[in-house]
């Protein structure tokens, strides 16, 4: 639990901003290169990196309580559960049982 407010220096903000811009350029560039099956994971990885930077620094989670980190973690986990749970049905059709299922 954070008892006093941690004031983040504007230098950090500008640094994060520049990183975000660079990563944006990187993701555009990576999309023009044929990486086969890796295009999608690379794009997602870059997006996740950008999001993590925003969460940690712009949204101050790096300087916040464990409770806040717990809330962030729970949200991520539940989102993954929703997407993974639904796609699992479609991916596993035909693995077992009657045709079409």
């Amino acid at each position: 639990m954070s008892s006093s407010e941690h004031i983040v220096s504007p230098v950090v903000y500008v640094g994060v901003f520049l990183a975000l811009i660079v990563l944006t350029g990187l993701t555009v560039f990576a999309s023009t290169v044929d990486l086969g099956l890796w295009n999608t994971p690379v794009a997602l990885l870059i997006a996740v990196t950008k999001a993590v930077l925003v969460v940690l620094f712009f949204m101050h989670v790096k300087y916040s309580s464990r409770l806040v980190s717990l809330a962030v973690g729970a949200a991520m986990l539940w989102l993954l559960l929703l997407i993974a749970g639904v796609i699992a049905d479609y991916v596993s059709r035909g693995w077992v049982g009657s045709p079409g299922t």
Binding site: W78, L82, G85, D89
Partner: protein, 558 residues
């Protein structure tokens, strides 16, 4: 008529003390009489007053949803579809489901009892965000208004489940209005859950550690997790239905390659955890009732507390058991079936622990305890039949039959509503400062129990024999069981009317209640009945475990 509240026969002998020696006089000013007038109610931020606003609203919605049930059961007295046309019948069960699920069962215990009690039980002056709390009620009313608009302008006939592509393309009823009504109402739930989570984390009194919390609070915490993580998914799902109908942004249209099963995944991802929203708070109530009316600590406190969390979490992993015959992959069906068996375990743990609490307890049979014991029995039946439905092979036979209808009514009516009524009666003296007439309350509880079983037990048999749900006409051979069910429904309806009468009567004519008429443990009983607006004169400090009732045999130790 004077009636006795407090431990009845079976409890330890308690000589009545003159009021002057037993507890200080109640303060003249309490949260009810501190201010008068419509504005003082409609603009209140006092969690206790907001709870009463919700009490009025959900009671109205309960009787509205019940009216549809009456029409349904009337139609089903005869095999022919002769009371209403099939299109009308479709609207009847749809409106019954929507109103009962979204506007009664989901808000009932959390918004009425949770709002009233949680701050008091943790020694706080109010919830974390009182104005947000009031906003939640207004959002509920706004959502209800949309839904009632859909009702009076012709109704909806998709079932409360809104399956695509019927809801998105083919239905000619007010899907958009009803969908928006539920969408808006969802935010009422989400904000209530948010309020509870922050309050419970951040506003507990000194000395009140997590494992000293009443189990009612644990149950509402777990419920609030579902409110926050699950409700937004149905919000977006209904929004996609509305967008498809209104703007042709079609993602479920098979003609475009859309998949109706995707709708079902998104719908049930929320709607399965929603049933745990409907039962967990009632389980929290039961833990309070069973301990008080056995004069005993709960058996296995930490396990019961953790089981609430386990139900909330595992409850998010089982939604596909509503889709076994939908065309979802068999492999997914296997996983969902297995996980559904798993989620029964924490529920069963609660039932074992409540039963073990009774053992060697000093049990008394006041009205709240009647509801609590009724809950345990009926919830057990409902839960066991859920296991039948979780078995893939059995489900193929009984899915979409009255077996399913009976299963969920055992849990939602035999379980949740009895828990709600038990809680209303238990905390009635605290909320209103009045005692209700015990004899009439016991009569009503017994009538409700009898009427309930007569209504819904035949439906298990009907479903097993093959009668499908949502049909307004059925083969002759099912008539006897249907007539039994409808007869039971009329008894059940009478049973529900009785508390309406005597509870309202008691607000004016009931004897005044002391601070702790049940001699129960818990911070809410340490303050006046009704409480002052700030809940406590002084900040309470907690030094003992929850349910610190005297252990049997301790009286003999000097």
């Amino acid at each position: 008529m004077t009636t006795q509240i407090g431990p009845g026969p079976g409890g330890p002998p308690r000589p009545p003390l003159p009021p002057a020696l037993s507890e200080p006089p109640a303060p003249r000013v309490n949260y009810l009489n501190v201010a008068y007038g419509v504005k003082s109610w409609l603009l209140t931020t006092d969690h206790k007053r907001i709870a009463l606003l919700y009490l009025a609203s959900v009671t109205l919605m309960f009787f509205l949803g019940g009216a549809f049930a009456v029409l349904i059961r009337l139609e089903l007295v005869t095999p022919a579809g002769d009371l209403v046309q099939s299109e009308t019948y479709n609207k009847l069960f749809t409106m019954h489901g929507i109103i009962m699920v979204f506007f009664f069962l989901i808000p009932s215990i959390p918004a009425v009892l949770g709002n009233f009690l949680i701050p008091i039980m943790i020694g706080a002056r109010d919830l974390a965000f009182p104005r947000l709390n009031l906003a939640s009620w207004y959002i509920y009313m706004f959502g209800a208004a949309f839904t009632i608009y859909a009702l009076v302008s012709g109704g909806v006939d998709t079932g409360w489940t809104f399956y695509a592509p019927y809801s998105t393309t083919y239905s000619n009823t007010h899907v958009i209005a009803a969908g928006l009504g539920i969408f808006i109402n969802g935010f009422s739930s989400i904000l209530t859950g948010l309020n509870f989570i922050v309050t419970i984390h951040r506003m507990r009194a000194p000395g009140l550690t997590w494992f000293r919390l009443p189990l009612f609070v644990w149950a509402h915490y777990a419920t609030s997790l579902i409110f926050v993580l699950g409700t937004p998914v149905i919000a977006i799902t209904l929004l996609t239905v509305v967008l498809e109908r209104a703007l042709h942004l079609g993602i479920y249209d098979p003609r475009l390659g859309g998949d109706p099963i995707l709708f079902q995944h998104l719908f049930w991802f929320y709607s399965h955890p929603a049933v745990y929203i409907m039962i967990l708070p009632a389980m929290g109530v039961i833990s309070e009732l069973v301990t008080c009316f056995s004069r005993k600590r709960i058996f296995g406190y930490p396990v019961v507390a953790m089981s609430s969390l386990a139900i909330a979490v595992i409850g998010f992993l089982v939604w596909g058991h509503h889709m076994f015959v939908s065309g979802q992959s068999t492999y997914a069906g296997l996983i969902f079936s297995f996980l559904s068996f798993l989620v029964a375990i924490p529920s069963a743990i609660k039932v074992f622990n409540w039963t073990a609490t009774l053992y060697k307890g000093s049990v008394s049979w006041d009205t709240p305890m009647l509801y609590a014991i009724g809950f345990v029995g009926l919830f057990t039946i409902g839960g066991l039949t859920g296991l039948f439905l979780a078995s893939l092979g059995l489900d193929v036979h009984v899915t979409d039959t009255y077996f399913v209808v009976a299963h969920f009514h055992y849990i939602m009516v035999g379980g949740a509503i009895m828990g709600y009524l038990g809680g209303i009666h238990f905390w009635w003296p605290k909320i209103t400062g009045r005692l209700y007439p015990e004899m009439w309350a016991r009569v009503a509880a017994v009538i409700i129990f009898a009427g309930f079983n007569l209504t819904f037990f035949p439906q298990f048999i009907l479903g097993y024999l093959g009668m499908p749900r949502r049909y307004h006409a059925y083969p002759e051979e099912f008539q006897v069981l249907n007539v039994m069910s409808s007869a039971g429904a009329s008894i059940l309806g009478l049973g529900y009317l009785l508390p309406m009468i005597y509870l309202v009567w008691s607000m004016r004519y009931g004897p005044k209640a002391s601070a702790n008429p049940w001699q129960a443990k818990g911070l809410e009983w340490q303050t006046a009945s009704p409480p002052i607006t700030e809940n406590f004169e002084r900040q309470p400090v907690v030094t003992e475990e929850a349910y610190a009732y005297a252990v049997e045999g301790e009286a003999h130790i000097v």
